[in-house]
Amino acid sequence: MSNIIEKSGKISEASECYILSAVGDEVEFENNKLKGIYHSESSGSAVRIVCDGKIGFSSSTKENNDEKLLSSAIHTARYGRYYDFEFAGSNYSSDVTCFDIDVKNFSVERMVDIGRDIIDTIKEYDPDILAFASINKDVCNVAIANSSGIEKEYDKTTFYVCGGGKLTEEGNFLYVYDFKAASSVIDESDIEDIKKKVIDDFKTAKKNVLFKSGRYSVLLSPGAVADLMAPVTACSNAKSIQKGISPWRDKIGEKVFDERISIYDDGTAKEGVASCPFDDEGVPTSRTTIIEGGILKGFYNDLATAYALKIKPTGNGMRGMSINSIPSPAKTNLMLSGGDKTFKHILANINEGIFIDQLIGTFTSNHLEGNVSGNISLGYKIEHGILRGRIKDAMFSVNVFEALKNNLICLSKEVIWKGSSRFPYILLDDIFINTKA
């Protein structure tokens, strides 16, 4: 890496080299049986070079390809973006460990055992279910060097377990799953949670119930809350602030949500699977307060947008685990604070409502407008505090800015990690849910 920086030093004003290498294994169970075992080894480099004040970019997964890498970057620098910000200057990193040797040493055989256990448990509950499971482990190394003198790297492990099943019958198709992801080995109790959730969902969803379009109390699971948070990440992304398209661009210090809402992006969170010591530009990760007590506090950024907006870099300049992309602002671990009532208590006190566990299609909504609109792909009717049965053909459509300001009843005490997000259950009031006549 320092080789590239040294070589580029002779022909450029500034340069940066990013190397990502990874080894991964996956065990896949499909339709009740072990289907395949996959292994991947990847390595690639990406270079940003500044010539005549403009940035060129190139990347390659070819070994011993420094000359081509540099010449491509120089070629693209002729037309590239103006270098107004600066590459990272400090060798400081945040105090985060994201490597577990037990993940690295975890055998494929043991991964197969985890999958088989999930499959067997589901099949024992109902042999008609076509069960599936996926167990992944990944070990990667991220290294960055630049002409400002920084040179650092870190090792990271990721362990992922997913289990679920599908049940098909005439006019009815049920697809249920749950998953856990962490930097360390997923332990037995978490796997028990996955199995329990999947079976509970199959039990509750077995029966369909009809309901009328109308206004309801709506309880969203942490998985569904993730959909609700999409406008938050879109509008607090420093790039959309810089472009003048985020509705939050002039609202720092203003109350945008109910005062019980606090939202953080934290690249240093101990249990967060996205945690790492520095971002993909070499900037130390940090905890960024986006919303506190309902008030808009900050935006997550990368070096270019931090410079443009004259704000402190937050260490969110990410490349999406791909060497083909330049860094841009991306969330790390997104966390929403919980409330004071347990999920059990909240559910018990809902006389009539809708429980939404999964939504589909919301990624196409206009998030900058605050819109989240999708089909309730797994949801239930609540009557007298009990989940009566599954609802179908139901659409959920809200403006999140209105809903989290005016329609919030409460947040659950429990906060649950779903991938790199940690959310409570959320209960909203007076939400229109429409369905077929």
Partner: protein
Amino acid sequence: MKSLLKETVKNIKADYAEVRIEDTTETTISFQGPILENIGETQKFGGNIRVLVNGGWGFVTFNSIDRLDDKLSIAVNNAKTAGREVTEKLSLAEVCAAEDNIMPILLHNPQDVSLDSKINLLKGYNEFILDYHEYIKSSTIRYFDRKTKLFYVNSEGTYIEQEKMDMGCNLMAMAVKGVNTQYGFVGRGSSNDYNVITGLEDELKKACDKAISMLHADPITGGEYTVIIDPKLTGTFIHEAFGHLSEGDNVYEDSNLQDIMKLGRKFGQICLNVYDSGLDSGHRGYLKYDDEGVPARKTYLIKEGKLVGRLHSRETAGKMNEAVTGNARAISYEFPPICRMRNTCIENGETPFEDMIKDIKLGVYAKDAFGGQTNGELFTFTAGEAFMIRDGKAAEMVRDVTLSGNVFTTLANIEMVGNDFEIHDSGGGCGKGGQMPLPVSHGGPHIRVNNLVIGGKGD
């Protein structure tokens, strides 16, 4: 390369094996507002080995072709472990071994166009957007072109060298008024012609006008509606509503679903014909061979309302005792091939648009795709632009139109199929099994569908 690959596959002790090497060069250009954000040149080189032993699959992917023997052993060991529990024999559907070397016939190769010209073209579009109107506050422009040299060999004697071209461009205008942000966009893609992205000023003007109009439109009232869908959105609709359901891996080991998806079963009215084809050259879903070396075909899924076909890989076709179709695709060497779509269309019908709209008292005219999703049973898709239909005419513009339906029942609700067929390629792609965005195309004419549920606030 040919001898290396043939030698490697010869040494693999397995029921079936294949090796794939890929060498890709890509140019990307992006603008964010007035800032030229990035010009990049990327080289992606790598390969994989996929092996079948006793019904279990082993797969290894790598960037370096050093120590291929070690990688081979890992693949075989993985396959052996996976195959240990298999009780049923797995036989892949038979195909003839093929030796072929394919060079695409390019109308206008984007890699022959200088970086300078590409940037000037896109810069021109960007300035057009940003200068258009005081409400147009920003833009996003993304362009890529990619040439891939593919080397494929399998243990049955197939050896194919293919060169492929893929290109996509998305031009987006953002209109802002206070806290309201709306989009208009133009998307184009091709597998053989750079010129599909030239001369887009008229389209861009419409996109900008649309974004501005959306600022003043009301969100749609949620409900169940009769909807006329334009050709662009029809493509997304059929992709989500039926394309994914037709992928063989959904059905090949699901006996209940097989009963439901019996060939010959009526799914739609007689005016409905649906196909998926890899043969439409120029479109992003074009391929001569799929990623198992199977020649691509035009596969009918629905003919005159009845189910007649599915989209298979060799494994799913073998299991179901049906013909191969050439639908096994991997987005890159990093993944194994799985059942994917290519160019999925509702075939041209007979009803002119004027006849579709004239007797709708209250409905929706939904246009332009913004994406969609399915969970197997239910699907959604979002319109880029929509209008209420009142008393047989297009009326006021509405926004936030996400439509939803049930895959088993919605096809039967297609009442009319139009006579203005188009195929559309955008700069995006399809996602499945972590492999996204896969280049696909889709198309159709205007169609009229009953009883689509649209999300929104109540009255």
